[in-house]
């Protein structure tokens, strides 16, 4: 079991990543709180020694995505809110950024994950394939299709 100091460090280091992944998968703040509690409790109870920060970060991403999927599948999960509500937590975001976020969030789930991991976290297709436990070629295909969908949604100037 990890110490309180380790917990505090992990929360400071990875909570933004967990928050963004939650935003991609979930539709309300209460579910995000649940995921935070699940992920960081799992981290404290987990005795696996991480090789480096990258290994640890990949662990957080994988555990968060799995926790979100489990929560979505959960029979007891009944609280759902429309897509609009997601962005009520980001009132200060400028319109063009809001537009980009909405375009990404409107993608099917399998595309949202690879877009986030590739464009934001900077992972390569082989790295994403390991994190998501998918075939590398599948990841390449997902990236290509998601790029096309974003282009359609946001228009040609998005590439500029």
């Amino acid at each position: 079991m990890r110490s309180e100091q380790e917990l505090n460090r992990a929360i400071e280091q990875y909570s933004n990543t967990v928050r963004r992944l939650c935003m991609i998968h979930l539709k309300n703040y209460y579910d995000t709180e649940d995921i935070f509690q699940t992920v960081f409790l799992k981290y404290v109870l987990n005795s696996v020694e991480f090789e480096n920060d990258e290994h640890e970060k990949a662990w957080f991403i994988r555990v968060t995505i799995n926790a979100c999927k489990d929560l979505i599948k959960s029979f007891f999960r009944s609280k759902t809110v429309p897509l609009d509500e997601i962005l009520t937590y980001s009132e200060n975001i400028s319109n063009d950024k809001k537009e980009v976020l909405e375009a990404v969030l409107s993608l099917p789930l399998k595309y949202k994950n690879v877009v986030y991991l590739h464009y934001y976290e900077g992972y390569t297709a082989p790295e994403i394939s390991k994190i998501l436990n998918k075939n590398v070629n599948t990841v390449y295909t997902l990236l290509k299709r998601s790029k096309e969908m974003l282009k359609n949604n946001l228009g040609g100037e998005f590439y500029e």
Partner: protein, 260 residues
């Protein structure tokens, strides 16, 4: 494109309240787990102690520290634990087995058990028909043996046709190996010292009175003084591989014989 997505996602971050709530939740959970694990450890330790206590207690309670052999014609043996309780009753001939099945002296104090056995119809009838009752105590725990012997001596000293003696533990193994009770084996050794041709089968069929009478008649025939089970001289002189056992058995018998 990459930059635009990056800058858009940069606007999303975990609120301080969310981080603080998570921290508090996880720490509370850990504390609960600690308490639970301490309780489990405590319960587990208690269960282990209880288990050891039960197993240890069982082993101590059912460990034989003395054997009392009661012979007249029914021959039976009582195994006694360190708490002076009877933990086993075993018959060593047909009559003995019947008697062992008919009486219930398990977990009784040995004094009560001996009293009940002696007053059973089988044994009291044999005594009234001039049977001879021998009560032997096997020395496994010397202090307990002395105490039991003292109690039995007090009981038999005023009784006709009863005597008591002590035996060595090594004799028990020999006795059981040839299928005799300790008392019968003790008498067999005496008899064998006078008549080497006597067999254990013959002795097992005889009552204690018959064995005692035979010992006395053989002693008289051989013109050797044999009174009340004494006879160190004979025993030592006859030593032919049986001498040690006979000698010890008879030696113990001296002074504890209340035969009339």
């Amino acid at each position: 494109m990459s930059e635009k997505i990056k800058s858009a996602f940069d606007e999303i971050y975990a609120e301080n309240e969310l981080k603080q709530n998570t921290r508090e939740y996880v720490l509370k959970k850990i504390e609960k787990r600690h308490k639970k694990s301490n309780t489990i450890k405590y319960v587990y330790s208690l269960a282990v102690c209880l288990f050891i206590f039960i197993i240890g207690g069982y082993k101590i309670y059912f460990n034989t520290t003395s054997i009392i052999s009661i012979d007249i014609n029914p021959s039976l043996e009582l195994e006694i634990n360190c708490f002076d309780k009877v933990i086993s009753v075993e018959g060593y001939n047909d009559d003995g087995e019947i008697l062992a099945n008919n009486i219930d002296v398990h977990f009784d104090n040995y004094n009560d058990a001996i009293y009940e056995i002696i007053n059973s119809s089988e044994i009291s009838n044999s005594i009234s028909e001039n049977g001879l009752l021998s009560i032997g105590v096997v020395e496994m725990d010397t202090k307990q043996c002395e105490k039991i012997l003292y109690d039995i001596e007090k009981y038999t000293e005023n009784q006709n046709n009863m005597y008591c003696y002590s035996m060595k533990e090594s004799d028990v193994l020999e006795a059981h190996k040839i299928g005799l009770s300790c008392g019968k084996y003790h008498a067999f050794l005496q008899l064998q010292s006078l008549n080497p041709n006597i067999t254990t089968d013959e002795v097992s069929q005889m009552t204690m009175r018959e064995i005692r009478d035979l010992i006395e008649s053989l002693s008289n025939n051989n013109d050797i003084e044999f009174e009340n089970g004494q006879g160190n001289g004979q025993c030592n002189g006859r030593g032919n591989g049986q001498g040690n056992g006979q000698c010890n058995g008879q030696g113990k018998m001296q002074g504890k014989n209340f035969n009339n």
